[in-house]
């Protein structure tokens, strides 16, 4: 099968990775790209391309059949809320198997080893463990199902990128926003393993997965192959701002001390409820109820119309992405997920991808930052 002659079906096409996949498929000259679109209002980026926007929902197999059409190549970047990852992936696999799909690229994540991967997880054969994090655990469970379908005859390839960055990535845009707001700190002296995966390197790996028979049924870490630390990554973004903000280091003792006030059954429950209400997953569930969808939209519009200072104050009060206001005399302490992410010590090996796929990262870190800077300027972040 030459994938360049095939209709390519992309799930998660309205997202950052899927959007870039559509662009690259078009640049590669595939005859037709079918994009699964759950929320049509999110399709502005890919609607610029000659892509067929196919309405559908990973939770609704019938819609996937219609959306897949005659495609024989599936690139599965789709996600949805954490609790629906497994079912959505299984639905897509079942429809693909029935339709005789000839290649199924599953975009997994290195986070199947948790947000702070344990030592020994450098290579793909390290056993996957449950971590308690819904995203990590569900992505790990989805991998198992993908491999099961591989054994049933669906030609599958699993890719495990890590910190996928590049134009449109929230890793870049949120970091810029947080740097401006003073909501960034170095954890572990900024020495933690960042494991960057430039989005085009990931797409290169997808293409190699489509072309390489030896990849079938295999799992590959995909990173940029450089030992980029969080200090490097954050520092490179801070340097884009003028003046470059000073990023403070926070010690584990300071982090522990800031968490100390969370003890107590009542306060713990209140804060846990607030965290639930703020979670993306919960908000997505609320949007399915028409009246709350309308109310939330009005509320967000109202918040969006506030002057930046008031907006930040309100967000800080409700803990939305800025747990502590960055007053001049108050040290910013990152949230638990950020701390865990920056505490990573494992650099994933791409030896297997190099050997089996012939993968070699095309975009090195400095080149990636150059491209990201160009894009950030165009996108009015700089």
């Amino acid at each position: 099968m030459n994938w360049r002659d095939q209709t390519v079906f992309v799930t998660g096409a309205t997202g950052f990775i899927g959007g870039r996949v559509c662009e690259r498929m078009m640049q590669a000259g595939v005859p037709k790209i079918r994009a699964l679109v759950h929320g049509m209002h999110r399709a502005a980026r890919i609607a610029r391309l000659p892509v067929e926007l196919c309405p559908g929902d990973l939770q609704e197999p019938e819609s996937l059949k219609n959306a897949l059409g005659d495609a024989k190549v599936v690139i599965h970047c789709g996600l949805g809320p954490a609790s629906t990852i497994v079912r959505g992936t299984e639905n897509m696999l079942a429809v693909a198997l029935d339709a005789g799909v000839q290649r199924f690229i599953h975009v997994s994540t290195a986070a199947v080893y948790g947000i702070t991967p344990p030592p020994g997880s450098e290579n793909e054969d390290a056993p996957v463990r449950r971590t308690g994090d819904p995203y990590c655990d569900n992505k790990a469970a989805a991998e198992k199902i993908v491999l099961d379908y591989g054994k049933r005859g669906l030609p599958v390839v699993i890719l495990r990128p890590s910190i996928v960055w590049g134009p449109y990535s929230a890793w870049n845009t949120r970091l810029m926003e947080d740097l401006r707001a003073g909501h960034v700190a170095f954890v572990a002296g900024g020495k933690g393993a960042c494991n960057t995966t430039y989005v085009d390197n990931l797409v290169d790996a997808m293409v190699l997965g489509l072309e390489n028979e030896g990849a079938l049924g295999q799992t590959f870490f995909i990173t940029d192959g450089e030992r980029i630390s969080w200090g490097d990554f954050i520092g490179a973004h801070a340097a884009l701002l003028n003046p470059a903000p000073a990023v403070a280091e926070v010690s584990q003792a300071e982090i522990d001390a800031s968490r100390g006030d969370r003890s107590g059954l009542l306060m713990g429950s209140v804060k846990a409820t607030a965290r639930l209400a703020r979670s993306k997953e919960f908000r997505q569930m609320l949007t399915q109820i028409p009246v709350t969808d309308v109310a939330m939209k009005k509320a967000w519009n109202w918040v969006g119309s506030l002057p930046p200072q008031k907006r930040d104050k309100l967000r800080a009060r409700f803990g939305v992405r800025c747990p502590k206001p960055a007053a001049a005399n108050v040290k910013f302490i990152p949230d638990e997920v950020t701390v865990a992410t920056q505490n990573a010590t494992v650099f994933f090996s791409i030896d297997k991808a190099r050997k089996v796929l012939g993968y070699e990262p095309r975009i090195r870190f400095l080149e990636g930052m150059r491209l990201v800077e160009q894009w950030l300027r165009f996108a009015a972040y700089l």
Partner: protein
Amino acid sequence: MTRPIRLAILGCGAITRNEHVPSVIAHPGVELVALVDAEPSRAQTIIQNRGLTSKAIADFREVFGRVDAVINALPNHIHASSNQECLRAGLHILCEKPLAITSTDAKACADLAEEKGLVLAVGMNRRFTASHPLLKLVMNEGLLGTIQSSDFQYGGAFDWRSATGFYFDRAKAGGGVLVDFGVHMLDSVLDSFGPITAFDYQDDDWGSGVEANLLLDVKHSGRYGDVPGHLRISRTFALRNSLLVQGSVATAEISAENTEVVVIHRKIAGAAVSQTLQFENFPGTTSYGRQLDDFISSIVTHSKPEVDGRQAIQTLELVESCYAHKRRIPEPWAELTPARSGAGA
């Protein structure tokens, strides 16, 4: 007392649900007879949610003879044909922008309305924000000095929950962000600074898609002489979201956050100061409400609406010229050099 204008709204998507229905309900001179949508459940949902006695109808032709006027909020590609059918049936029309997806079709609508002596108003609600006439007043009275340039930026992540998703289909929408939101901005600057006599247009359509970003440099030649202007619109990125008008002594700003005021920025003895201007008495509460009131008044008094078909033609001709002479916005981050390995996609 004259009887209310009997009205039907064609198309029950987001704009009808969020703006037109509330405006119509609040207007004392209008009776909402029917809501029309090819998917009648959409009309029925609005009727139930609002507790209306209006009828839910699937085919707009069924309102002929039962109403005096319609608000046409159907998808763009059927504006022209439905407008002409309604005009032939003797109905006044307030048509959502764009009036049609080609200037030729828009002209056919405008000609027919004039021939029939009917009101054909075009939904440019931003004309009915208080800041629009206030800015014109500020410029006319010389508060800015000589008008030197304008810079209009509007952008944010697209979040319009269209019922049909036609926005992303070039054949149905007529284009992308230029024909969608851009016509509002073009209408504003044309009305404020006069005709555009030169332009340079770029967008990010990769070919047979619809653009999400555009950059437009223009030269107006109007009552303020030659005034250069820059417009930037985005469906993907948050922008400054304001119109800045640079004058020789001060700069005026209309912000999307508050379209009822004009802020004047200037320097006094080297110190930057700003002053917020607003009308003490400006009728109505929303731009859609004022737009509806203008439409109804035009019907009752047999006068021209604020934005008529002729003005819409001028805007659409400019849109067509932009598309005909467009250049692609450079996206160097998206154009990769060939891969070192075999992954040359």
